[in-house]
């Protein structure tokens, strides 16, 4: 299970999973977190796509999970996801996808 430091992180992740039409990530978020290397890569790749989308949404002053400036929200989400990748043993996949972003 992903342990979020703040509840708005999950709200934002789910919002972007729906917006970016990523059913696999929705299932990971609704389930017990990542359970395979494939799911780990899907979630890590999705996170950086989400960050790109938050830049667009910030420029449009959209309100996402109660925030208009989404920079620090992305940092909070990143921290919770990094911790989950470490706890599940998939931090190398996180690093690989981070390097590509």
């Amino acid at each position: 299970m992903i342990r979020y430091r703040f509840p708005e992180e999950k709200e934002a992740l789910l919002h972007y999973a729906i917006t970016l039409e990523n059913k696999k990530v929705e299932e990971i978020l609704h389930g017990d977190g990542i359970k395979s290397p494939e799911e780990a890569r899907e979630l890590a790749t999705f996170f950086w796509k989400m960050v790109d989308q938050t830049v667009t949404d910030s420029d449009k002053s959209l309100d996402i999970a109660g925030y208009k400036n989404l920079e620090s929200l992305c940092e909070d989400v990143m921290q919770s996801l990094r911790s989950h990748f470490i706890a599940t043993g998939y931090v190398d996949i996180w690093e690989e996808e981070s390097d590509k972003a």
Binding site: E71, Q79, S83, S98
Partner: protein, 154 residues
């Protein structure tokens, strides 16, 4: 003040610092205080969710796993820098850092995140006024070294 042109140059420099605690900041942002009120609820530039506040929000209470976030490793710092750079609207992103062994004000202490050994909290170890915490965080910022416009190296 240092400037770097490649990721390798910056990574090697960061590694050479030893045990550091770092925070990137976009030009115009403060290294340790949030002056942009669109980032959530703030009290004197301190994010409410970063610290354990009293009900009246006038006081901050000790907590070993709550505090301002700092990177303690290149890998963590790189991720935060990427987010900052994407949100920078083309402005420079600088890295502000202190050594683990550097003097920090009484009542503050770096604590490793129990969920991520590359991440640290600048925690409060004794009850203090919110205004005192803001002053102490500002004091820390004044003593941080700066790697100017580090996004060029990403």
């Amino acid at each position: 003040m240092e400037q770097f042109k490649t990721t390798d140059d910056l990574r090697e420099y960061i590694k050479s610092l030893g045990a550091f605690r770092a925070r990137p900041a976009i030009t115009g942002e403060h290294p340790t205080l949030y002056l942009n009120h669109e980032q959530g609820t703030m009290h004197h530039g301190v994010r409410e969710k970063d610290y354990f506040f009293s009900t009246c929000r006038q006081w901050v209470l000790p907590h070993s796993q709550m505090g301002l976030s700092f990177s303690g490793h290149w890998s963590h710092l790189k991720d935060i820098m990427k987010i900052k750079t994407k949100h920078s609207k083309g402005n420079a992103v600088s890295v502000f850092w202190v050594l683990e062994a550097a003097d920090i004000p009484n009542g503050l202490k770096f604590e490793v995140d129990k969920q991520d050994s590359q991440h640290y909290f600048l925690t409060v170890t004794e009850m203090m006024l919110t205004t005192q915490l803001a002053q102490k965080l500002s004091w820390v910022a004044d003593r941080m070294s700066e790697i100017k416009d580090a996004r060029k190296a990403l």
